[in-house]
């Protein structure tokens, strides 16, 4: 679809009094960041038994049913992933009007999505190439797809051509440009210059930065992670020790396979904690006079999360020594956006994790809501 065709497509959907500010055709792309993080695990857990079968001929007869089961599971995972992965096929037109963000998909069935500007939360992911994917959280105001169905706010994915951050700034200008009186802010820490610059770039005209902070550094293991680690290693040790039917006793390869699966499981938990620690190093949090901002920079990639506070549900979890965590509820941020294995865990980019004076920040967000 050409830019001119995209503009014409979007203009057909304009309502009276609505004017078009920006339009573009989607680029052909796949948002790989939306693939569940357990996908590599599926491949590894499939590869280990197959490698064991190829190394030990005695294992083949025993492991054929297991391999068949794995293959079926693999096929299901593959189908579900491609079914739910955000893919732009180049047949979608995007438009930003004075009132809505329009997503019009041409094809056998024409699908029009209109998201009201004013209550949109956004998440921008920019990869190495500089091109980004934007997810918008809002209600489709074109009504339910089926009669009688409830319209629920959800995440919509768009892949604009060129620099995605520019589109995000345009949306911020439309939503947050009216000046608001700044309220008293709690103690704050200033993030590194690059991260602070990234935060400042997101601000609309008249929008004030009330509070900024960086999360506590270091590796953290929560109760769930420790339980998973202990149970994975413990069950592996139990299986090797008990050795039902004596298979593991007879075959070194089988023994190594079971240990490899157990150790791999433990490593995935540890790697998740290490990755979070690395993400925390480039993460900064901010509360502006209109919204909540989370910026994460890691090597050449960058994530910007903008949450509209108007109807935001929050949870304050106090931890030790005046350090606390604020969760943002109702946005599905803790879930992976796609894929059969949803990442049901929170990361430093989905919450205000480990911040000082969290109770004051919690109150500040509510104050911002009151003045917005």
């Amino acid at each position: 679809m050409t830019p001119q065709a995209a503009q014409a497509t979007v203009e057909r959907e304009l309502r009276p009094g609505e004017s078009l500010l920006w339009s573009a055709a989607s680029r052909r792309s796949v948002d790989l960041s939306a693939v569940g993080p357990l996908w590599p695990s599926v491949l590894v857990l499939l590869a280990i038994p197959l490698a064991a079968m190829s190394l030990d001929p005695d294992l083949r007869a025993r492991m054929v049913p297991a391999a068949l089961f794995s293959a079926v599971a693999f096929a299901v995972v593959l189908y579900r992933t491609f079914d739910t992965m955000p893919v732009s096929d180049g047949r979608t037109a995007y438009g930003v009007t004075t009132q809505r963000v329009l997503i019009v998909r041409e094809g056998r069935v024409r699908r029009v999505t209109g998201l009201r500007i004013g209550r949109l939360s956004t998440r921008l992911t920019v990869g190495r190439g500089g091109q980004g994917h934007i997810r918008l959280f809002g209600e489709d105001d074109s009504g339910p797809r089926r009669p009688g169905a409830e319209v629920r706010p959800r995440w919509f994915h768009i892949s604009p051509p060129g620099e995605a951050e520019g589109l995000l700034r345009l949306l911020a200008e439309i939503q947050y440009s009216a000046p608001v009186t700044a309220t008293g802010a709690p103690a704050h820490t200033v993030p590194e210059r690059e991260t602070h610059d990234t935060l400042s770039r997101q601000l609309a005209e008249g929008e004030a930065l009330l509070w900024t902070a960086v999360p506590l550094r270091g590796v953290r293991l929560g109760g769930v992670e420790i339980t998973m680690l202990v149970s994975m290693l413990g069950l592996t040790a139990l299986l090797v020790w008990l050795d039902p039917r004596g298979v593991l006793h007879r075959s070194l390869v089988a023994r190594m396979m079971v240990i490899a699966i157990g150790v791999y499981g433990a490593c995935t938990v540890l790697c998740g904690a290490l990755k979070d620690a690395a993400v925390r190093r480039g993460t900064a949090y901010a509360v502006t006079s209109r919204r909540v901002l989370i910026v994460g920079r890691r090597r050449s990639s960058q994530t910007v999360v903008s949450l509209d506070v108007e109807h935001l549900s929050l949870e304050l979890l106090p931890t030790r020594r005046a350090i606390g965590t604020i969760l943002f509820l109702g946005l599905g941020l803790a879930k992976g956006s796609s894929g059969p294995f949803r990442a049901s865990r929170r990361t430093p980019l989905t919450q205000f994790e480990g911040i000082e004076d969290a109770a004051a920040v919690f109150r500040l967000i509510h104050q911002v809501r009151g003045t917005g």
Binding site: R152, H311, E315, A334, Q367
Partner: protein, 184 residues
């Protein structure tokens, strides 16, 4: 927790100009639906492991460690139940003119502030005049969230009227149960 303690806990969290429409605490029942659900899951699971140990693995006396696994599983389940009761003892609920508040103190301290307009409540009657109001879309989806059911008004009295209050289908002047009308 007494209603006075609940009021004190809630009042601390109110913002300027915020008006409380209702406060309450979860009922302290010995056996809840959570207990029955846990038993319904744990007992067949333990039975399945025992069957696996004896028949499939042909372990004989070697099944004892598996019995230990079953015991451990039941223990974890029991811990969940105990912590659910402990959580209920230190929890206070409130509905204000702006939000739904769930406040806990002590070991499980947390403050949950749910927006009345976007939380999408739904009501499940749990018998004996009690009911639980859950909120679609605010469940975190993580394992610890689902174990403790943090974000719901569990086992409250007069649940139907509280539900109507949250959804705005009831006049705020005719409030249910403990009408506080506290203004911060």
């Amino acid at each position: 927790m007494t209603s006075l303690e609940a009021d004190a806990l809630i009042t601390r969290e109110l913002h300027a100009g915020e008006r409380v429409l209702w406060t309450g605490v979860p009922a302290q029942r010995r056996i809840t639906r959570g207990h029955l659900a846990a038993a319904a899951v744990l007992l067949p699971f333990g039975f399945l492991i025992a069957v696996l140990a004896v028949f499939i693995c042909e372990m004989g006396w070697g099944a004892l460690p598996f019995a230990a696994v079953v015991s451990l599983t039941l223990y974890i389940g029991a811990t969940c139940i105990i912590s659910t009761r402990a959580v209920a003892r230190c929890t206070a609920y409130a509905v204000t003119d702006r939000r739904v508040l769930i406040v806990r103190r002590g070991r499980y301290a947390c403050v949950t502030s749910l927006d009345r307009h976007s939380a999408r409540p739904w009501l499940v009657p749990t018998g004996r005049g009690l009911g639980t109001i859950s909120f679609r879309g605010v469940e975190g989806g993580t394992l610890s969230d689902s174990m403790h059911a943090w974000r719901r008004l569990s086992e409250i009295e007069d649940a139907a009227r509280v539900f109507a209050l949250i959804t705005g289908t009831m006049d705020e002047r005719s409030q249910p149960g403990s009408d506080k009308g506290v203004e911060q």
